[in-house]
Symmetry: D3
Subunit: 208 residues, 6 copies
């Protein structure tokens, strides 16, 4: 009986084998990407490890902001290619924070795991801010400038979900002060004092 079914299935599978194409599209990270993501790896080379990432642990928070972000984007987790979804882990030491930043084409949800974080986002019409504890989550709509500050007495941990497999990160200070545009131009188009711009350019590695 099994043989008969197998033959049947072989025929059935042959006739619909094209159908397997779009069940998933694991990124071939060695090939070029395009507007909708990376090329698909040949399905027969895909393994469960393309869908699993095992380094989703606390990063090193000993840096300047006392913050660490551990991404699980398409580079770490090629199975998310084309799926409009990725995640990251955020660790904040005491006093740590993520400065103002945005994601060009991604919304974000923050899930509080430990400690206390004061988070917010800003629109031209209003600012929305909340102090979050475990059991709280908060959404930051696409493209809006937002921040996360450890407002508790110890470490804080949160998980972040994104609506893009490569959400990017537009860190405002890095944009403003890490580039080589003339400081005078930055001062003019931000209305910041020239001295302020020069000072932060020194800290963020920008020239000009």
């Amino acid at each position: 009986m099994k043989m008969i079914y197998s033959l049947f299935l072989f025929a059935l599978l042959s006739s619909i084998s094209h159908a397997f194409v779009n069940d998933f599209c694991v990124a071939n990270l060695n090939a070029p990407d395009g507007p909708s993501g990376y090329e698909c790896k040949p399905p027969n080379t895909v393994t469960v490890d393309d869908f699993v990432f095992s380094g989703f642990v606390a990063g090193n928070t000993s840096g300047i902001f006392n913050a660490a972000i551990t991404p699980a984007f398409v580079t770490q987790l090629p199975g998310v290619n084309g799926l409009g979804l990725s995640v990251a882990r955020l660790d904040l030491a005491k006093g740590g924070f993520v400065p103002l930043h945005s994601h060009t084409a991604s919304s974000e949800i923050l899930i509080m795991v430990k400690g206390e974080i004061t988070a917010g986002f800003i629109t031209p019409a209003a600012a929305y801010q909340k102090t979050l504890k475990p059991g709280d989550i908060m959404v930051f709509p696409q493209g809006l400038l937002h921040f996360q500050v450890n407002s508790g007495k110890g470490k804080a941990t949160a998980y972040l979900a994104f609506s893009n497999p490569s959400p990017g990160a537009q860190l405002l200070d890095l944009l403003l002060f890490g580039n080589n545009l003339p400081s005078q131009l930055i001062a003019q188009t931000t209305l910041l004092d020239y001295a302020q711009v020069k000072k932060l350019k020194t800290r963020f590695g920008g020239r000009g």
Copy 2:
């Protein structure tokens, strides 16, 4: 006069030649695919036969389910690449049926051609079922489990339209009983009896 126009047209066409790019994007089936489909064949290699499929005839219904599906998906009809559309032909011998299945990213419309088919789909809230005859059509919304049973006294034929050039086919039995996951795990996560799982694994070629 014609020469003048031709010159004019040549100039016009040169200036807008890029514009031809997106009139269509016939799949280059020899190149890798990506999240939005296959690479486009060079337009000058495209012929009318990329847009025509001539094997849209009754398949062999002598198999286990007495059913045959003849697809015209991107593999058979490369002109549908990127267009969000494909079709298939369904033939059911007397007593034939398509077991419960779904399409991961495609809706489906069934057009009755001949005979009588009882079809339905199931949501967590309700089941929607109808006996269809020529003159009837029925839509199965994206991702929902559905079936088609020949409920008439002879052969039945229907045409199927899909909102995806590669709609795939998640045949429930093949998913549940054609894999190599432990039977105990299948039994647990389906709540089916272990003996039932073992029995069908034998029929559908699964191990474990």
Copy 3:
């Protein structure tokens, strides 16, 4: 035992009841539509008949073109709302044809059922034409001008699938000669002779 399960299920269903929202979105044809389609009918008012259309039969081909199109678009089949899919039936009496037309935001696949149809579409770079018989299908990519002519000796029937629940129909003659724009303007912007425009305006009901 059943009661226990039912209680469990009731709780489970309550907790995920929002989830039912998007299983489908049957059009409320009495409400306004928007860029992505019609509002959803309340799910508890939906019946199987929202997903079934029973008038998919041959239309009257005694008109001018000896052609009849029987649509199953969102108006006839509200279950396709938001699904990017619809179908229609095409009947051509001997000598009948569908004049050149396009669909603003829909591709089309033609499935030959009976007789013989010569069909084609035109791009600025080339025309693609084929004579089709039962067993043949042909795709017309989005937005391109196309035609279908009964080239056989008797009636012809085909089914059409569209990648839009409301594919519209831009019948070229109706656009050019059914409007009230000045005939002189039509003649200028089509390069047709003025007399030709006036003649066809008379036939297609246009004024000016």
Copy 4:
């Protein structure tokens, strides 16, 4: 000086006030939804609490599956409307599991928080399974049947991210055995034994 700026800003804001419309679109849950989500609440009625959900805590796992899902979908978190993103919390008591299920229009990423979960998904070509511990994440591509089983010695907790603000949940047993379709039809289209269907219909509340 401030007044001057304020006047300037008032003028600027007036001229671009329409621009505020699309910074976000918080769901008006009292209005009908459509294919792309709910109507937007008037921006001046939106508060930070539309973007925060504070009930993201462990659910009651004393039910049949010893599993609890706490959703933060558009119903609980109206700020995710139109953003293609939502999250949920999964708690599994010892021995608990989420039976096979799928989401019609959503991918899913599972973030392990505590304990051990064996998770997997199935395609027609292969099954992908992994035992996950804290530090691991796993993605389940859109529309594929998947399961999560507590394979550890104590409780397990995970967070789930979805690429849809209303991901739904197609629990296989509920689909197969919670409906009122005839048991004979279910048996035929699943190839399960009739007795098996009857047994599970009793447990899942289905009639027929």
Copy 5:
């Protein structure tokens, strides 16, 4: 003859009248909007003026930045609803500029009309800057911070095209210094000096 055609057309139009629905979807600005835009006005109330905007003229550049933006977004031009497109006019007096800003869900192309503008955008990896004169255009990809400065000796004028009918405008200074978040929080999450924040809050109307 005309009558016959008219009858035919009447029948044809009746049968495909639903098709008119999606030829366009002019915004009903008095109805609520949703994630994909505004409800459509009833087609029979639409006039050519829904597709035309006649106030696309130089704005008043006597304000603080010596800049004026004249938008033609969905509010001014309801015919763009759902079309993914809008435009604006930019006038810069001598010395005028548009400070750093972004659009949450829109790319932008600037067409130089008169004078000289130095424009640029910034990514975390690099800044891209160019001095533009009539005959030049420049694209600013979605979500990226960009600026436009009149670098010429007289007035400058440019037209802007957007890939969103409501592109919004996230003016950085307004975001940072026009809100009521505590100055200390702004200073912390921007790394700006507290005194700098206070100074600009005074100018931009923010409190805290």
Copy 6:
């Protein structure tokens, strides 16, 4: 201090370097395109000139229609790849015009710069026409047939914005009379007189 920051930033940038991928996707015009556009150029080979086009000047209007279109589509401006946006410049000598045409997958906004243009578009239900002067703009919804005629006493110039980086151009006369389909077929499916078709085929270079 700077070194410390630089180290920090280096680490931060390394951890999120994948994020740069999607800030933009400049077309690699030497690689094949796909349904969503061209492959991305490696970011480190991108320069500001990929985002700037400097040939946006008046074209030669001495041709047949006394019209010139200067496109800035993905071929001229590879930075628009994947962004859903492009522009063109339209120059009309006295008496010049753009004959009826459509864009298969793009809406269009016309910005009047100089002179007077009478423009319009046609749907099956109505024609919408307006005489435009500087200060006026007009939108032509996707897929609809439209025209632009210089109705003034001198030259006319306009800028065009498109919702597609490769909007194409379906010039009606070129479609109807530039192909090699039999004139009899064109006459039949347009209802034009055979002599009219032959006459225009001669002018537009079509054979048959």
